[in-house]
Symmetry: C2
Subunit: 119 residues, 2 copies
DNA sequence: GCCATCTACAACCAGATGGTTGACAACGCC
DNA sequence: GGCGTTGTCAACCATCTGGTTGTAGATGGC
């Protein structure tokens, strides 16, 4: 699981991390402490979650005194979108070809099909 | 990790499973044996992978004698796409609001900003 | 300089994951 | 009915994951 796409999917497979991403998207940058507040887990656990998101390239971090503001990097979403769209289009393309084949077959066996449809 | 969205992301976090999805999208339904052929793992391992994809709702299976053809269910991709697009739009919306705030602030402190920009 | 705050690192633990091998169930073909 | 093919189930194993607690580093306020 070394490639980035795997890390991104893996990072978003956790509801807590998805919720963090949602909050970062809605409310902007946040410190680890702020991110941790709504959840009933230790700050260390949240720090680990942030690290997973960071390793996936979904967030970046800067420095502001003791704080390490977490910033959402929306571009990485493109990786997923591209992957998803590619295969969705392939599926649709395959269906179009399949329809063409079926149509051609229907031409060849028109009489048989008419009988079948009538039953 | 009980919700479907988590299961979908989790399922696609594995490169082997993503490759299977890619092949199903490109070449249509396939048996477990056909799916297993390109990989250097046991058929049982591939059967497990298919089960993960099935539990996520990404594929369905029918019966054809001993075979259990695996069929890609492209609709589930919509779940992910919707989730991703929602937050991408939120980010963009937030940036627009942020720009507006910055513009308003620039109006109030125009002289200060000019000095800052000049440095 | 000292203290409080914010965060990270390390060690540990239970449970999930991805792989293996072996047994066996379901089915078509002789 | 017996055999080969296809796929699943069960047990086992090493590793990863998400959580904990405890310790320690960095930094601003006093």
């Amino acid at each position: 699981m070394t490639d980035q796409l795997s890390r991104v999917f893996q990072a978003l497979a956790d509801p807590t991390r998805r919720d963090m991403v949602a909050r970062l998207a809605a409310e902007g940058d946040a410190s680890v402490g702020e991110l941790a507040a709504p959840y009933d887990v230790s700050v260390q656990a949240v720090s680990k979650h942030v690290k997973v998101l960071e390793d996936a390239g979904l967030v970046s971090r800067s420095r502001d005194a003791q704080r390490r503001p977490v910033h959402l990097e929306a571009e990485v979403f493109d990786l997923m979108t591209k992957w998803i769209e590619r295969y969705r289009q392939q599926v649709e393309e395959r269906y179009r070809r399949l329809d063409a084949v079926l149509a051609a077959t229907a031409e060849d066996t028109r009489d048989d099909r008419e009988e079948g449809a009538a039953s």
